[in-house]
């Protein structure tokens, strides 16, 4: 099944600092609950794991993550990911576009659009929960990401 998340949030840090975090998978993926990056396998291509629980169903995807577009001039990135559940319960695909825009009053606004397609048991048993769980995960991500930026800012 397909689901789309369309989210915006704001952080008080500088565009430069936010951008630096965004293009570094180690930094950004660390903020997404259940996601780990294991290795860099090529230019803008990483392997990692994505584990999530949707009500009664858990999945653990072996994932390939690509930075398809890093457009510094326009402060825009496109990340795609695809994963196959390690227990053979299905697969998932994700495409995320993030746009940064500097705010007049300071800080940065991030506009994220995420298209997610899941197949297999998650779609079958968890479809009702996907939007709710995704919203929850996104909230946690925003909180983790903001914290990480604040730490980085303080350390600088």
């Amino acid at each position: 099944m397909k689901t789309q998340l369309d989210k915006s949030f704001e952080v008080p840090q500088s565009t430069e600092l936010v951008w630096e975090h965004l293009i570094d998978p180690e930094k950004i993926m660390d903020c997404v609950p259940g996601v780990t990056i294991d290795e860099k396998v090529g230019e803008n291509h990483y392997k990692g794991k994505v584990g999530m629980k949707f009500g009664p169903m858990g999945v653990k995807y072996d994932a390939d993550i690509h930075y398809n577009e890093i457009d510094k001039a326009n402060r825009k990135i496109i990340i795609t990911g695809e994963g196959v559940d390690s227990k053979g319960n299905g697969n998932a695909e994700m495409m995320m576009t993030i746009d940064l825009s500097e705010r007049a009053e300071g800080g940065v606004k991030l506009d994220a659009i995420m298209d997610v397609t899941v197949n297999g048991k998650i779609a079958q048993f968890g479809s009702r929960l996907i939007t709710t769980v995704s919203n929850q995960l996104f909230k946690q991500f925003v909180s983790n990401f903001s914290k990480k930026l604040a730490e980085a800012e303080a350390a600088a």
Partner: protein, 788 residues
């Protein structure tokens, strides 16, 4: 009305005696397939595909086999060694038992794990490592025939696209011409969604092969054990499973509804596993496996109904696209790929009709079971009954009045329908009048006018259906060549008690009571003295089983005729005992007496005793009879249902205020059981009308594969059903009975849909497909308001 011929103690036809089987069910003592436990029994769990369409790259059994207690992992390659990886379907298509290279729908069987208990088997199934290469699935049946659609069944010789078959009946040109010339033509595309029977008991099997005796004993959730045994012998004969060595026992069944007619791959894998291992193997489907395998309905019907401007129906045309999933495994009679869909001309008298259907493959589960309906009658009735209401709305005529003006008249029976059926009997006018009286139709029409004036949404929906059941006459009806007769075998013991066995199989219908009542009616032996036995192929006479409301029309008739054979023999014995000639003996229920001297009599029990102890010289001893009944025609139960609903405009919530069901199923064996059947059937009618529908996404994932998401109505959702009946006996059935179990499932959905659409009509909403849920109604209201 029907007048009882027997006392309540004898309990013949027309008595609402309590069900004999209920004591064990109410005490929790029913014995179902999952209750069967055999020494050394192994358990099987199936690994299923997460994808709707994928190549299987590899199946690695290693980790599963390393688990203590896992004995085997069976794959398609394993079965291919015995040529058991594919099986034929009833309609000459082919279905995978286990795949060797490709999976064709989500949840398709991929391999099976055999272990010492079920928990270990589940762990084993999780440990099997299957690598897939997912492919783009065809989910929308309308796209299955696109030029660029991938060919789903390259395994079938000569198959060039995803089209399975074309079927048609009637006169295309004349119907088209009548439609072209008509004053009024109403058109609609109507979809009857994919639904599931969702019986409480899932499917299951315990197969036990004894290598020494070479006997295969199979406990099976089957509505048709004899037919399954023959099919098994035909498809597995080459490995040594010979029909006389196969014994199938269908124990108690917790709901069949057509879903337990087919042969599922799980059955075959378990049987093959037992055969190879030489130990009993049990497989019981879990709830989600049950919900995502098999289906009913899924017809997209383009309908056109033509009439004069004052509403005389002239022609009906329906062109259907049927989504069969990846194989046509419909459980239909051989010559009827679309079942009895041609009953779609309905209860109305007109000359021209044409029905055609194209069936296509998609990446969905196969099935096409006749869910509580005599092979596609639900689809047919929904089409005509929605269209009749649409016509009534179009020309501004009361839908009841429109029906009265078009009904086939009582005196026109037997009626030759434009698509070739011979309706046996009916009095449609009387039935609808009774329903209108019971509900207070005229008052509701007034109330509706008042409510509409206040801007409130209230609707009244009617359905006056004609069913076609009791398949069927041998000249037309067979399954894999086996004619669709059914059978009864009666054995009256010396003490006058009896055992009767049948080729059918109850799944909750109450056969142990109603068959005993038929015999009580015919022989005068109290129904409590008659044991009924079904479902064991070693003991029961051959029959095609219970589905399509066929038990009373076929096996019930066989019981009556077998009993009459016994009565004829009894007459000779009575004449011998009373020392008169046979011509001087007369019969009244339960006893023979001498003409003109009623005090000189012998009871049926006296005669039974004499059949073993004091029979006339030269007569064959014993008191037994068997009959195999080949019906001369089908039976045509009918009814008039009226539903009143209110719809809340702000939320789309639908409240069914009243529902009246008047059924004419001919003579009634047990009114209480009939009423129970109708209550259950109406609830299974409101189910697709307002709640149920299997939802697929574009990738072929089933999005509601659990009972959390697939909404089966419970007592909470069920309105108060009000029932009644009229009786026009079937002229050709020995008891004048017709069968009833399916009428309410067929008749309720259009009555409810018609009522809801009638409620929404003032907003300009002219059609909604079922299930009509509050969010569908709400959406339609928003669209209608935006247009206005």
């Amino acid at each position: 009305m029907f007048k009882c011929k027997t006392s309540p103690e004898v309990g013949g036809m027309g008595h609402s005696v309590k069900r004999k089987e209920d004591a064990r069910f109410l005490h929790g003592k029913g014995k179902y397939t999952d209750d069967v436990k055999l020494p050394g029994m192994l358990h099987m769990v199936i690994v299923r595909s997460p994808y709707a369409y994928a190549k299987i790259l590899s199946i690695n059994k290693e980790k599963a086999l390393a688990i203590d207690g896992v004995l085997a992992v069976i794959t398609g390659e394993d079965l291919a060694q015995y040529n058991l990886h594919w099986m034929p379907t009833l309609l000459s298509d082919s279905q995978m038992v286990l795949p060797t290279d490709t999976v064709m729908h989500q949840s398709q069987e991929v391999c099976a794990v055999i272990a010492t208990d079920r928990y270990i088997a589940v762990d084993g199934a999780e440990a099997v490592d299957v690598q897939y290469e997912p492919m783009k699935a065809i989910v929308n049946p309308f796209k299955a025939l696109d030029e660029d659609a991938p060919l789903l069944r390259p395994d079938k010789e000569g198959q060039k696209d995803n089209h399975i078959y074309h079927w048609e009946r009637g006169e295309r040109e004349k119907t088209d011409a009548a439609i072209a010339a008509a004053d009024v033509v109403v058109k609609e595309r109507i979809h009857l969604p994919r639904i599931h029977v969702a019986s409480i008991e899932t499917c299951g099997v315990v197969a036990s092969y004894d290598k020494d005796t070479e006997k295969m004993l199979i406990y099976l959730t089957s509505q048709a054990p004899h037919a399954i045994r023959t099919i098994l012998a035909l498809v597995a004969g080459h490995v040594g499973l010979s029909e006389e060595k196969i014994r199938i026992i269908a124990p108690d069944i917790g709901g069949g509804f057509g879903g337990k007619v087919p042969v599922y791959p799980g059955y075959v894998i378990a049987i093959a596993a037992s055969f190879l291992i030489g130990k009993p193997v049990k497989w019981i489907e879990d709830r989600s496996e049950n919900l995502v395998n098999g289906f009913a309905r899924d017809y997209h019907m383009d309908c056109e109904l033509a009439a004069t401007k004052d509403g005389k129906i002239q022609a009906f045309k329906v062109s259907t696209l049927a989504d069969h999933g990846y194989t046509d495994s419909s459980a239909n009679p051989s010559k009827y790929p679309t079942g009895m869909f041609s009953i779609c001309t309905g209860s109305y008298d007109y000359e021209h009709a044409f029905a055609e259907l194209d069936a296509v493959y998609t990446n969905k589960a196969p099935g096409g079971v006749a869910y509580r309906c005599s092979f596609r009658v639900t689809e047919a009735v929904h089409a005509i009954e929605r269209m009749v209401d649409k016509l009534a709305a179009e020309i501004g005529k009361d839908p009841a009045q429109l029906r009265f003006e078009n009904f086939i008249k009582k005196e026109d029976f037997p009626y030759a329908s434009p698509l070739g059926w011979s309706y046996d009997s009916g009095d449609y006018k009387q039935t609808l009048e009774k329903a209108m009286d019971m509900i207070g139709y005229a008052d509701y029409k007034k109330e509706q006018a008042e409510k509409r004036a206040q801007g409130k949404l209230m609707g009244i929906g009617i359905c006056t259906f004609t069913e076609v059941v009791g398949a069927g006459p041998s000249k037309d009806f067979d399954i894999l060549g086996i004619k669709m007769f059914d059978s009864a075998e009666i054995r009256v013991h010396p003490t006058g008690k009896a055992l009767a066995r049948f080729g059918t199989k109850s799944q909750g219908q109450g056969h142990e009571t109603t068959y005993a009542q038929i015999l009580a009616e015919e022989l005068g032996i109290p129904y409590t003295d008659i044991e009924i036995d079904e479902g064991d192929t070693d003991t029961a006479p051959y029959g095609l089983g219970t589905y399509a409301s066929r038990s009373t029309p076929t096996a019930g008739a066989a019981a009556a005729i077998a009993a009459r054979k016994l009565r004829d023999k009894g007459k000779k014995i009575a004449a011998h005992l009373l020392e008169v000639s046979e011509e001087d003996i007369e019969w009244e229920v339960g006893k023979y007496f001498v003409k003109g001297a009623p005090e000189k009599s012998k009871t049926i029990q006296d005669v039974a005793f004499a059949a073993y102890t004091n029979f006339p010289e030269g007569m064959e001893p014993g008191f037994e009879a068997t009959h195999y009944y080949d019906p001369p025609n089908l039976t045509f139960p009918n009814g008039a249902y009226i539903c009143v609903v209110e719809v809340e405009e702000e939320t789309g919530a639908i409240d069914v205020k009243r529902f009246v069901a008047i059924d004419d199923c001919g003579n009634i064996i047990n009114p209480m059981i009939v009423e129970g059947q109708i209550h259950g059937g109406l609830t299974q009618g409101i189910a697709p009308a307002m709640y149920e529908g299997i939802v697929y996404d574009d990738e072929g994932n089933v999005l509601n594969g659990t009972l959390m998401d697939y909404l089966v109505p419970t007592a909470v959702e069920s309105p108060h059903w009000e029932t009644g009946h009229t009786i026009t006996p079937s002229p050709h059935h020995p008891l004048g009975a017709k069968g009833v179990a399916e009428s309410p499932t067929v008749g309720a959905p259009p009555a409810i849909a018609n009522a809801i659409i009638d409620a929404l009509y003032p907003l300009g909403i002219k059609h909604l497909d079922i299930p009509i849920t509050p969010d569908k109604v709400w959406d339609a209201i928003q669209v209608a308001k935006a247009k206005a």
